[in-house]
């Protein structure tokens, strides 16, 4: 889906982002093509959420606001941990909030907004939950509710903050399946994740962050010990299984260990070193 000829959906050239009065949280040199499916990976504090907020227009860039409103149709799915699950709101009410800025001044939804909401819930397989409270749903269903709230804006860019955080294996599979379907429909997707193997390794494109963009490329390019060391600041072993590159913590090696200094167990990849941007 990644197009190179069409203008990028997002392009930051040497941009610096920060929250309100804080110092620079992340420097980004980044280009995201229309219809891309990109994962942002990096340790806590690397700037993943800051970069998402920058894409939303909520943080400062180069000392001035990115814009009072997002410059394009962006859908945002926050971390589920940030939701107030005791707030009195049903699935239908939560999803219809996605139309807040387009649905006119009356408090009740327009007929076409309601029809679109029902079609979305049907597509996401939560139609029967429309009048249930959001707290009564399973983790996967809850994620779908906030995905539906973002999708009802008909976004061309969908941003998700840790969409698989704290969910079980089956729910994670459902979410990734769903995102893959949406991406095939042409929706550009950027998501953050801490999960290198169960999420990042499956995505078509990764951006490794650690206060700046360390590397950007396909998983087979960036899931490389050098890149991971520069990103996470620790040694990691990369193995290959069934066409996937998987990373795990390196066993501790003392200076006298016979394998000290030979942590890269995976196959060499010429592109990996090239993908590292000033990592050394």
């Amino acid at each position: 889906m990644t197009g190179t000829a069409s203008p990028p959906l997002v392009e930051f050239a040497q941009a610096a982002f920060a929250y309100g009065g804080g110092g620079v949280a992340v420097e980004a040199d980044l280009r995201i093509a229309p219809g891309a499916l990109v994962g942002l990976v990096g340790p806590s504090g690397a700037g993943k959420t800051t970069l998402l907020r920058a894409l939303l227009g909520q943080v400062l860039v180069g000392g001035s606001p990115v814009g009072r409103r997002p410059p394009r149709r962006v859908g945002y799915v926050p971390q589920l941990e940030t939701i107030d699950w005791h707030f009195p709101i049903t699935v239908a009410e939560a999803v219809l909030l996605g139309r807040v800025s387009e649905s006119g001044p009356l408090p009740w939804p327009r007929r076409r907004d309601r029809a679109e909401m029902e079609a979305l819930l049907e597509r996401l397989d939560i139609a029967e939950m429309a009048h249930r409270h959001i707290r009564t749903l399973s983790g996967g269903q809850q994620q779908r509710v906030f995905l539906a709230r973002a999708l009802i804006r008909r976004p061309d860019l969908l941003l998700l903050d840790e969409p698989t955080s704290g969910v079980d294996v089956r729910t994670r599979h459902e979410i990734l399946d769903l995102l893959s379907e949406l991406n095939l429909d042409g929706v550009g997707i950027v998501l953050t994740t801490h999960d290198l193997n169960a999420v990042a390794a499956l995505l078509p494109e990764l951006v490794c962050l650690n206060g700046r963009v360390v590397a950007q490329g396909r998983p087979d390019q960036v899931l490389h010990p050098d890149v991971l060391r520069a990103t996470f600041g620790s040694e990691m072993v990369v193995i290959e299984h069934d066409g996937l590159r998987l990373a795990t913590d390196a066993p501790s090696h003392g200076p006298n260990h016979p394998h000290h200094g030979h942590l890269h167990h995976g196959p060499d990849h010429d592109g990996a070193a090239a993908a590292v941007r000033g990592a050394r």
Binding site: Y76, E93, L97, V100, L106, P107, R153, R170, E174, N197
Partner: protein, 304 residues
């Protein structure tokens, strides 16, 4: 029974008081939903105390309570909103700082002129039976304005209350919505203060919303219920006041507390019955199946 209900209506003071208590209860219930859900339950109590400072200034300068109290309350509400938006200071601390400082100004002015202390009894404890036609007109105007604002800003207010961090990315002007809400809240408190009193207004704001929350999981239903419960507290409280010969502010508050107790206990009983009927081993909800083959490999490997 009908005679029992009709008898108080023969008195003009009761009719005025009943209208004022019912409308004030409904108005407090309406704004109370947002107050409770924003976890600012103390703001009703705090703002009413803050406005007392403005009321005293009005008395000293011979301006109307509604003018000085309105300006004072509006500024206090905006200050609270502004201070609580800085993440280092929560709304509760902002309310504490702004309202107590404002209240202290009022107390200082009262202590400088002991001769007018008694004039503030109505502000402190409410004087529903001494409601004037001006009070009623102000109350009606404020209730109408708040109802209109909630009607036309329903979705924006809901989004900012539910998910303030995300609302702006969906095109909601969160700063404007917060300011409008602060001013509406200040207006509602000023309009109901002389009726319910500084000391009891917090209950009128919080109790109907909490009762409605216990009875509903839908925001729209909670909002409607809170208005009805607030009006019912005013209406029922006035009857209790008349027949019990008790101060109306207290009976309105106690009526609300009794409603809360009934709904709370009914909820506990219903929960216990549901647990008993469900029994052990309830089924897992249906979850859609399916996943890309590559991901299944990872599940088999149990690598997350």
């Amino acid at each position: 029974m009908i005679h029992w209900l009709q008898e108080p209506w023969t008195f003009a003071f009761f009719r005025h008081g009943m209208v004022a208590a019912t409308v004030a209860g409904a108005l407090a219930g309406l704004v109370g939903v947002y107050v409770v859900l924003r976890r600012m339950s103390y703001i009703g109590h705090g703002l009413s105390h803050a406005i007392l400072g403005g009321a005293v200034v009005g008395y000293v300068t011979h301006y109307s309570f509604y003018v000085t109290g309105g300006i004072w309350g509006g500024i206090s509400a905006l200050l609270i909103t502004g201070v609580s938006r800085t993440r280092k200071i929560g709304a509760d601390a902002a309310i504490g700082i702004v309202t107590t400082a404002s209240y202290a100004v009022g107390i200082a002015l009262i202590s400088r002129g002991h001769h007018f202390t008694r004039n503030f009894e109505a502000a402190f404890f409410g004087n529903i039976l001494g409601v004037t036609s001006t009070d009623l007109w102000v109350l009606a105007a404020v209730a109408g304005a708040v109802a209109l604002a909630v009607f036309f800003l329903y979705k924006q207010l809901l989004f900012v209350t539910f998910d303030p961090d995300v609302a702006s990315s969906f095109g909601v002007r969160t700063g404007v919505v917060d300011i409008v809400f602060s001013l509406l809240l200040a207006a509602a408190i000023i309009a109901t203060m002389r009726i319910l009193g500084v000391t009891l207004i917090a209950a009128a704001v919080v109790t109907p919303a909490v009762v409605a929350r216990l009875a509903s999981d839908s925001f729209a239903r909670m909002l409607a219920l809170a208005v009805v419960v607030g009006a019912l507290c005013g209406f029922g409280g006035m009857y209790v006041s008349y027949y019990g010969d008790i101060a109306s502010g207290a009976t309105i508050t106690l009526f609300g507390a009794a409603l809360f107790a009934v709904v709370y206990l009914a909820g506990l009983a219903r929960g216990a019955l549901q647990r008993r009927s469900l029994g052990p081993g309830s089924a897992d909800p249906d979850l859609p199946a399916g996943f890309a083959a590559r991901a299944r490999t990872l599940q088999d490997l149990d690598i997350h």
